[in-house]
């Protein structure tokens, strides 16, 4: 918050839904959103308003950008993959073709891409894989060897296995119940994969617990983890300070930083995983401006 960030361009568009289809447990929506499609990079997200002007649901819902097509028959499109978990996402998955949705984006920082062609492993949990295929293509364009791990509770909660095979050099699938691929967690297969490919970077997107374990494993196996987090966000554009997480800065100091503008992608080893407990994050005692005893 101290230094005004560089002015990255961002758009607000009323987008037409031109396609929506069920994919396993998820809904895959294609929105006509030319400006956002033009500006976005992998790892960024969009925020959709829920309901109309008279809706009791004021806050936007955030979704990773799965894919953009900067031009096409309808103008540029943006695709998202939505898991209906509550009223907001249920409203979004209920949109029919030609319905309009209000979209703001692209938001947040993209996945940093290595300057050298180092091997990379991409790990997606559930719909967390959505932004990774696009990232995989960009990495391979730069000459990186790219392997992907897709994990989920069960087969219907895997997203993009076919697309993964198309866009990566190797794909490993895990499910908790063994309904597809290896029975178990992504963390069971990740160590070997890093070692085998000599990966320099592990990219992760999925539940917090998974991101934490990816970070641990990457660290132990000599790779850098870049993880895209999900924090509850009221604004998505950096003005409300609700989406903060304790993250260590370049100066070694922990601050509560906004995951919507300084994230959602963070270097895994910078995140203070020790402060998390379920969906609650404490302010670590050594954080800048942390409450002092008897103080605020």
């Amino acid at each position: 918050m101290s230094s005004p960030p560089a002015r990255a361009r961002v758009a607000k568009e009323v987008a037409e839904v031109i396609a929506t289809r069920r994919v396993g447990a998820y809904q895959h929506l294609t929105l006509v959103s030319p400006e956002i499609a033009e500006l976005a990079r992998p790892g960024q997200f969009v925020a959709l308003a829920v309901g109309d002007e008279s809706s009791a649901t004021l806050l936007r819902r955030s979704f990773s950008i799965h894919k953009v097509s900067p031009s096409g028959t309808y103008g540029g499109t943006v695709e998202i993959v939505v898991s209906a978990v509550g009223p907001g996402t249920r409203w979004i998955v209920a949109r029919a073709p030609h319905d309009l949705v209000d979209v703001v984006g692209p938001l947040g920082k993209a996945f940093p891409v290595p300057t050298e062609p180092v091997p990379c492993v991409l790990v997606g949990g559930g719909y967390g894989s959505a932004p990774l295929f696009w990232l995989a293509s960009q990495l391979r364009e730069r000459g990186c060897h790219v392997e992907m791990v897709l994990g989920a509770a069960s087969e219907d909660r895997l997203f993009g296995v076919v697309e993964a095979r198309r866009s990566c050099d190797g794909v490993t699938v895990t499910t908790d119940d063994g309904s597809a691929g290896h029975r178990g967690w992504v963390s069971d297969v990740l160590p070997d994969l890093i070692d085998r490919t000599g990966a320099g970077v592990v990219y992760g997107c999925g539940p917090m617990g998974m991101l934490r374990s990816i970070t641990d494993i990457a660290g132990r196996h000599g790779a850098v983890a870049q993880v895209a987090v999900e924090e509850a966000m009221a604004c998505g554009v950096g003005v409300c300070m609700t989406c903060v997480m304790p993250v260590v800065g370049a100066d070694g100091q922990t601050r509560m930083v906004r995951s919507c503008v300084e994230g959602p992608v963070f270097r895994g080893d910078r995140v203070r995983w020790d402060a998390f407990d379920g969906n609650h994050a404490r302010v670590p005692d050594d954080a800048v401006g942390a409450p002092r005893t008897g103080g605020h």
């Binding site: 005004p4 990255a8 409300c240 401006g289 942390a290 605020h296």
Partner: protein, 343 residues
């Protein structure tokens, strides 16, 4: 600065200007609400922040503050709860970085200041005054709706004495021609008594209202949803409370129980029609808070909607609409002695 800019971003169909006192004239009555717009750079990606009458910054305290743990928000019907805990960079960083940036883009700034003690408020005001970008400041909002450590964390704005003390100390630190606005909490038995105490202590205006104290239980985990347990309720849900508070205080001014000063209205404004409600109840300017989270262009959109609505209704001067729902006009505002002497 305000004067130079007052002809920019007005509308040639209607005179939208707002007089905050001491020659601080804003080109129009729309503002951001403190804590709902950060310090400008983020929203400047969506619209030119100098188009607003004034930009109200996030309340800043003496030192950097981490704020509270998460979750810091909960969605509620037509509103939300927040418990940010006044996270911020501290006044030194604010005057070094944020204020000069706002000045550089031509914004008129209404910095919001906070403190855990009246002396902290005074220190923050003094540091602000010393800023090289102080010329961009058209007034200072004093967020007295924050906890007073000396009084078991009871918020200043719940106690007339504590409120008056903060206002008097801040007033001393700032040049006489910079109006100060006391931002009041609606969580009190009688808001007019707090308003009166603030104005008597030197507040040149009042901002109403801050959030209502509220709470959400996470029924999955069966515990309070917010890290900070309670939080501030904001959004359209609370608009009727804001309108009522503004109405009551304006009424008390009309009855001579409170000296006449401008009121800045805030609470639940999402559309131009909503803004007009606050204005008709007595607000001379309007802030847009939570609605910005729904629509990052909301502050300027509301400005345009309000302008169109007033033009449609045939008004020629915004100032004619202020308090219009009361029927009778306010007694004339006495010109302060030092203002007269400057004329």
């Amino acid at each position: 600065m305000a004067d130079q800019q007052s002809d920019k971003h007005t509308d040639d169909r209607i005179d939208l200007s707002v007089d905050l006192g001491y020659g601080k004239v804003l080109p129009n009555p729309l503002m951001t609400a403190s804590g709902c717009a950060a310090n400008g750079a983020e929203l400047h990606r969506f619209f030119d922040v100098s188009q607003l009458g004034a930009f109200v910054t996030k309340s800043v305290m003496a030192d950097p503050r981490s704020g509270r743990g998460t979750p810091r928000m909960a969605e509620t019907p037509s509103g939300m709860l927040n418990s940010i805990g006044l996270q911020g960079p501290g006044i030194a960083a604010f005057v070094d970085t944020d204020l000069p940036w706002l000045a550089s883009v031509g914004a008129r700034v209404l910095p919001s200041i906070a403190g855990s003690s009246s002396t902290e408020f005074a220190h923050v005001a003094a540091t602000l005054r010393a800023s090289r970008a102080f010329a961009a400041v058209v007034g200072v909002e004093v967020n007295i709706s924050c906890p007073n450590v000396a009084n078991r964390g009871l918020v200043f704005a719940c106690d007339p004495g504590a409120s008056a003390k903060v206002i008097a100390l801040v007033r001393e630190q700032l040049p006489r021609d910079v109006p100060i606005f006391a931002k009041l909490s609606p969580d009190v038995t009688d808001i007019t008594s707090i308003a009166a105490a603030c104005v008597k202590a030197g507040a040149d205006g009042l901002t109403m209202i801050n959030t209502l104290l509220g709470m959400v239980i996470d029924t999955d985990l069966m515990r309070p949803h917010l890290g900070g347990i309670t939080g501030g309720l904001s959004g359209p849900a609370i608009r009727p409370v804001a309108v009522r508070a503004i109405w009551q205080v304006r009424q008390a001014m009309a009855e001579g129980r409170i000296p006449v000063v401008p009121i800045i209205g805030v609470g639940g404004v999402r559309t131009g029609r909503d803004a007009l409600e606050l204005v008709a109840a007595g607000a001379s300017a309007v802030q847009v808070g939570t609605a910005t989270f729904n629509d990052p262009t909301a502050p300027v959109r509301v400005l345009h909607e309000l302008t169109d609505l007033l033009v449609e209704k045939g008004y020629q001067r915004f100032s004619d609409v202020v308090g219009a729902a009361h029927g009778s006009p306010l007694p004339p505002r006495p010109v302060p002695v030092d203002e007269r002497s400057r004329a």
